[in-house]
Symmetry: C2
Subunit: 275 residues, 2 copies
DNA sequence: GTGTTTATTTCGGGG
DNA sequence: CCCCGAAGTAAACAC
């Protein structure tokens, strides 16, 4: 499966259906010129480039920061994303969201090569001084499929719209979904069995004080003209504080147990369920 | 600089002060047993393990999802973080936050090895079926320094506390910082030149409708006892809709131009500024 | 632990 | 483009 590649590199082949293709090329202890070439060519040609290096970082833009030298994993994507990961933590310590322009300036003489990312709106930049590059890897990744997600707020909306009486209360009718008002977007505008209008705000997770605020904001508009309008905060659960705040405002909490992630045990489905 | 390693692997040395140390070990086209060993040993011994592979992913927990096979970069950290990155986008398509237990089950016969991460509270899991592993890399990263950040909301608070008259208005006095109330935490509680109390909510970025809600919530408490209490939303900018909402409620917007990231051009400081 | 808020939030949808 | 709101938000911090 060996494929000819530039001397000094290590190439691995993929078992692609259409024959052997070099998918990953790895450059051990590359010099500055090699780093610049691999990053430049790789990103231009649509590959993901990962760098394991000891580096020093400067960021300035929406905030500013400095990170003294240490070992990090740097990931560059062809869409202009740059991520710097430390050995722990979910979030990168520094990053640039997609859309940035990434380039490498090979350092002069003994200088560290500089990985530089810049973008505008907002104006910001990231400088990664690659003091000691252990390894660079070019990954020509092909990944076209779409991620399929379920259990989102959109699904909860669909459920409520399809089963308002089960989800909310007997006799309720949905009049509008995602209604735009002067104060923002209502999730639902409904009418109860007595014909009283109901403003409905839906949350997929435990409802917070901010969610209560949001419902209250929407209510203002309707209470002026009709003091009897009802307001419902619909969620799998909420805190006592939020319940009290709702009660004080004459608003209601509607528990949607069907969507409670804690009671609904992780289902351990197998891949066959998806096929 | 060569260091003896297991046959079939590629090892790169770091120029560490205390002598040659294998920092990165790379395993091209590893079999399932090698993947299991490298991930297991690596994570246990505190290394970051990166995998370039064609894989298929299942997630279930707070939401649920499925991603059909494609080429992705998988990063495993010793703190139990797992990230799956596609060739574009800032956020991983799937992940597990720190604290998860990560293990690899070598697939039987021709089965793909399974990278499995699980955690509780909330209960969730991630399954990564490594159908075609192009390369695995073990990175014994040493990174102890702390990230230094500036331009945070905390700094904005310090500025306001130190220069309330410049930041807010002439004659104003800060009485309390981070005051706890029944309805949450006020950023500042102040008093204007006439002795009227002022509730101050500070945002580092453009203020949103939600921020307006928050200020309004804090105001309720004080308006009961003193209808003349003033409310200020302090931010570098905000939308017209928020300004109108504030006006309708008798609240004020205070623009803090000093912290506007758009007007304050990225400063292009050099590393010497930090030393 | 739970509750609340921030974030270099990122992301997507609609006007 | 901006505005607005969701997110498997994660992380920090108070209680």
């Amino acid at each position: 499966m060996a494929v000819p590649v530039a001397p000094g590199t290590v190439a691995f082949c993929a078992r692609h259906g259409y024959g052997a293709v070099v998918t990953v090329e790895r450059f051990p202890s590359p010099d500055a010129a090699t780093v610049a070439r691999v990053v430049g060519d790789g990103l231009r040609e649509g590959a993901v480039v990962s760098i394991e290096a000891n580096c020093e970082i400067e960021y300035d833009g929406r905030s500013g920061g400095y990170l003294a030298p240490g070992d990090r994993l740097v990931v560059c994507k062809p869409d202009g994303t740059l991520l710097v990961h430390r050995p722990s933590g979910h979030k990168p310590v520094n990053w640039m969201p997609g859309g940035a322009t990434i380039k490498v300036e090979p350092g002069e003489d003994d200088d560290a090569p500089l990985l530089y990312a810049r973008r505008s709106n907002p104006n910001e930049f990231l400088r990664v001084y690659l003091g000691d590059v252990y390894s660079v890897s070019r990954f020509d990744a092909t990944d076209a499929v779409e991620y399929q997600e379920h259990g989102t707020e959109a699904e909860m909306h669909e459920y409520i719209e399809a089963n308002p009486e089960d989800a909310l209360e007997d006799g309720i009718r949905i009049l509008e979904h995602e209604r735009e008002t002067q104060y923002g977007y209502l999730d639902f505008f409904a009418q109860d069995a007595e014909g009283t209008p109901v403003v409905v705000e839906v949350k997929r997770r435990q409802a917070t004080l901010n969610n209560f605020d949001q419902l209250k904001r929407y209510m203002e508009l309707y209470r002026e003209s009709n003091p009897d309008v009802r307001g419902m905060l619909v969620a799998p659960s909420t805190s006592d504080r939020v319940k009290r705040a709702l009660r004080d405002e004459g608003l209601e909490f509607v528990r949607l147990a069907e969507f409670d992630v804690e009671t609904r045990e992780a289902s351990e489905t197998t891949l066959t369920d998806f096929s």
